[in-house]
C-alpha cells in the first residue's frame, strides 16, 4: 500500500510540474494585476522551441533556454495590447492562446511525432519547480521587489506615487510568466513525453490558469494544488475500472468555480489582487 501511495505521489508530482511552473508564472502576472489567459499558447510555443532546438543542436539544455526565450517573446504582443494599449486582458489572452497554438502547430509540422534522442529526466524539472515555488514565495512576500509587484496589482496608484513605473512592473511580470510557461512547455517536450506534436499542451495551460485561482494566488499553496490536480490525473488511469476518468479530469475546472463561489459567499478575501484585470491609466482616477 505504501508503494502505491508513493507511486501516486511521484506521478502526481510529474503531472503537476508543468501546471505548477506555468501556474507560478500566472500567479506573478496576476499579482501584478494582469490576467493572462494565453498560458496554453505560450506553453505550446515553449514546447516547440525546446524540442526544435534540442533536436537540431543535440543539447536539451539549449532547448530549455530556447523555450524560456521564445515564450517570453510571444508574451510581448500580449503585454503591449493589454498593458500599453489597455485592451481587454481576457480577450487579448485568448488571442495569445490562439496565436501560440496556431504558430507552433504550423512551424512544428516537420517535428511532429518524431521522438527525442536525448530526453531530460523528469526529476530535474520537478525539483526546479518546487524550489522555484519557495523562491517565488519568498520574493513575493519578503522582499521590496515583491512588495512593488503586489502593490502594482492591489493599488497601482501607490506604486506610481513611489516613482516606479507601473507599466514596467506589469511588463516584467507578464514576461516572467511567459518564460515560466515556456519552461513548462520544455518539460513536456523534453522530459515528460519526450516528443512534439500539435496539441502537446492538451489543456494544461488552462489548468494552470485554474491553479492560480485555486491556490489563491499564493506560490506555496500552488504546490499543494498542483499535487492535487496531478493526483486526480494519475488516478484517472489507476481507477479506470471504478471511477470514470472524465469525472476526475473535469475536477480541476469545477474546483475553480466552487472555490470562486465559496470565497465570494463567505464575503472573505479570495486572495484576488484588487486591481486584477483592470488596465492602469497613469494619472487617471478610478
Amino acid at each position: 500500500m505504501d508503494d502505491l501511495v508513493l507511486a501516486m505521489l511521484v506521478r502526481a508530482l510529474a503531472f503537476g510540474t508543468p501546471i505548477l511552473l506555468a501556474g507560478l508564472g500566472e500567479i506573478y502576472a496576476e499579482r501584478s494585476g494582469v490576467v493572462n489567459l494565453g498560458v496554453e499558447g505560450m506553453m505550446a510555443v515553449g514546447a516547440l522551441a525546446a524540442f526544435a532546438v534540442a533536436q537540431s543542436s543535440g543539447s536539451p539544455y539549449l532547448g530549455v533556454l530556447a523555450a524560456l526565450l521564445a515564450a517570453a517573446l510571444v508574451s510581448l504582443p500580449f503585454a503591449l495590447a493589454s498593458i500599453t494599449l489597455r485592451a481587454n486582458q481576457y480577450v487579448a489572452g485568448l488571442a495569445l492562446t490562439m496565436l501560440g497554438l496556431g504558430v507552433s502547430g504550423l512551424l512544428g509540422k516537420p517535428y511532429e511525432g518524431a521522438p527525442l534522442a536525448h530526453p531530460l529526466p523528469e526529476a530535474g524539472f520537478i525539483v526546479t519547480a518546487l524550489l522555484l515555488a519557495v523562491l517565488l514565495w519568498f520574493f513575493l512576500q519578503h522582499t521590496y521587489g515583491g512588495l512593488v509587484l503586489r502593490s502594482a496589482g492591489e493599488n497601482p496608484e501607490t506604486v506610481d506615487a513611489m516613482g516606479i513605473d507601473v507599466y514596467r512592473v506589469r511588463y516584467a511580470a507578464v514576461i516572467f510568466g511567459g518564460a515560466m510557461s515556456g519552461l513548462a512547455g520544455a518539460f513536456l517536450s523534453l522530459a515528460y513525453r519526450p516528443s512534439w506534436a500539435d496539441g502537446i499542451t492538451s489543456g494544461l495551460g488552462w489548468i494552470a490558469v485554474a491553479l492560480a485561482i485555486f491556490a489563491a494566488w499564493h506560490p506555496l499553496k500552488a504546490v499543494g494544488a498542483a499535487l492535487l490536480f496531478g493526483a486526480l490525473y494519475h488516478l484517472s488511469y489507476r481507477l479506470q475500472a471504478a471511477v470514470s476518468p472524465e469525472f476526475l479530469k473535469a475536477m480541476p475546472y469545477l474546483f475553480v468555480v466552487v472555490v470562486l463561489s465559496l470565497s465570494a459567499l463567505r464575503k472573505g478575501p479570495s486572495g484576488a489582487p484588487e486591481s486584477l484585470g483592470i488596465p492602469y491609466v497613469r494619472g487617471e482616477r478610478r
Binding site: M98, L101, L107, A264
Partner: protein
C-alpha cells in the same frame, strides 16, 4: 493625457485629438486596417513555414471565394459562428463576459443528441424538440455563471471559461460510457441519429439550411430587440453604465439573466445544428466544434455590438475556416493555420480599439503658434 477634447499630440501638420464617439466610417477604416495587418503578419508566418505567401493567398482566394464548393464550406462554418456570435453580441452589450460559448454549444449538442437518441417523440416533433432542448441546455450552462456573477460577484470570464472544459468532459464521458453507440464498435461516439432527427442539406453542399435560417432570423431578432423594443434600452444602458442603470431602477438582474439565457441558448442552437446537420451523432468535443465558441468572440468583436454586422463577420470567419481546408489539401499545411488567422485578427482588432477614439485633423502650424 487629459480628457478634455483639446489637441493631444502633433505629428507634422496633423493634430491628433481625443474623440468621445467613433463614427462608423472610422470604425470601418480601423477594422480594415487591423485585418490587413493581421493578413500581412500571417504572410510572415507562412513564409517562415516555407510556403510562398502570395501562392497561399491566391490559393485561398481561388478555392474559397471563386469555388462554389469552397464558398459553401465557408457558409457551413458560418452557421455556428453566427448563432454563437449573435449571442455574444448580446452578452457583451450587457457586459456579461461570456467566454463560454464553446461549452454552451457542446451542451446544446448533448441535449439534441439526448432527444434524438432517446426521446419517444413522433418524427415531426423530433427536430423542434432538439432545437428547444439545445437552447435550454446551452442557456442554463450560461445562466449558472450569470447567477454567480449577479448574486455573488464571481468573475464571469473565469467561470464561463472553466465550464467549457467541464462540458468537454461531459461529452467525453457520455460517448465513452452511457451513450456509446451499440454500432460504434468500441469507438467513442453515439449511435447514429434516426433519419427524422437529421437536418436537410442544400443539395450539392453540406449547408444545413434550417439552422442557417434560424441563425439569420436570430440575428434579425436580436437587432430588432436591441434597437426597436423597450428591452433593448436597458440592455444597452446596463452594458454602458451599470451604475446608471441601477440608479434609474432598471432591472439589471433581469436584463443580465435574460441576456445570459439568450446568449447561451443561441450557442446551444449552434451545437444542435452541428450534430443534427453535420455529424448525425454525438462525438468527441473537438470534432463537434472546431473552436466555434472561441471564434464567435471574434465574430462578436468584429461586429462591434451590431447583430446585423455579425452576419458579415460570421461569414468572414467561416471563410477563414474553409481556407484552413484549402491550405491543408492544396499546400499540405496543418489546419492550425486557422488559429494563426484567428489569433492575429483578434490581436489587431483589440489593439486598435483605442484608435477608434482619436481623430486625426489636418491643422498645419501657423506662424507664431
Amino acid at each position: 493625457m487629459d480628457g478634455g477634447g483639446g489637441g493631444l499630440r502633433r505629428i507634422g501638420p496633423f493634430l491628433i485629438e481625443k474623440d468621445l464617439v467613433a463614427p462608423p466610417i472610422r470604425v470601418l477604416l480601423v477594422s480594415a486596417a487591423a485585418l490587413a495587418l493581421a493578413f500581412l503578419t500571417a504572410a510572415l508566418v507562412f513564409w517562415a513555414y516555407g510556403v510562398d505567401p502570395v501562392l497561399a493567398y491566391r490559393t485561398i482566394f481561388v478555392e474559397t471565394l471563386l469555388s462554389s464548393g469552397g464558398f459553401a464550406e465557408g457558409v457551413r462554418r458560418a452557421i455556428p459562428l453566427l448563432l454563437a456570435g449573435v449571442g455574444l453580441v448580446l452578452a457583451f452589450r450587457a457586459q456579461f463576459w461570456n467566454i463560454g460559448a464553446e461549452g454552451q454549444l457542446l451542451l446544446g449538442a448533448v441535449a439534441a443528441a439526448g432527444v434524438a437518441l432517446f426521446a419517444p417523440l413522433p418524427a415531426a416533433l423530433l427536430l423542434p424538440a432538439m432545437f428547444l432542448a439545445g437552447f435550454v441546455a446551452g442557456g442554463l450552462w450560461a445562466v449558472l455563471p450569470a447567477l454567480l456573477k449577479l448574486r455573488l460577484g464571481v468573475n464571469d470570464v473565469l467561470t464561463t471559461l472553466m465550464l467549457n472544459y467541464v462540458a468537454v468532459y461531459l461529452v467525453e464521458w457520455l460517448i465513452h460510457g452511457p451513450w456509446r453507440g451499440r454500432t460504434a464498435f468500441g469507438f467513442a461516439y453515439s449511435d447514429r441519429f434516426p433519419e427524422p432527427a437529421m437536418l436537410p442539406l442544400i443539395p450539392g453542399t453540406y449547408v444545413h439550411w434550417p439552422t442557417l435560417l434560424l441563425a439569420l432570423a436570430g440575428a434579425l431578432a436580436a437587432w430588432f430587440v436591441l434597437t426597436h423594443t423597450t428591452w433593448g434600452y436597458p440592455v444597452r444602458v446596463t452594458g454602458d453604465n451599470p451604475e446608471a442603470a441601477r440608479y434609474a431602477h432598471m432591472p439589471v438582474f433581469r436584463v443580465v439573466f435574460a441576456v445570459a439565457l439568450a446568449s447561451g441558448g443561441f450557442a446551444g442552437l449552434a451545437g444542435v445544428g452541428e450534430v443534427a446537420g453535420v455529424h448525425g451523432r454525438l462525438l468527441e468535443a473537438y470534432q463537434i466544434s472546431l473552436g466555434y465558441g472561441y471564434t464567435a468572440i471574434i465574430v462578436a468583436w468584429l461586429a462591434r455590438g451590431n447583430p446585423l454586422g455579425a452576419m458579415l463577420t460570421a461569414l468572414f470567419m467561416g471563410l477563414i475556416f474553409a481556407s484552413g481546408d484549402v491550405m491543408k489539401i492544396s499546400l499540405q499545411m496543418p489546419f492550425r493555420v486557422t488559429d494563426v488567422f484567428n489569433g492575429l485578427i483578434l490581436f489587431f482588432l483589440i489593439s486598435s480599439e483605442r484608435l477608434l477614439y482619436y481623430r486625426v485633423r489636418w491643422a498645419p502650424v501657423r506662424k507664431g503658434d
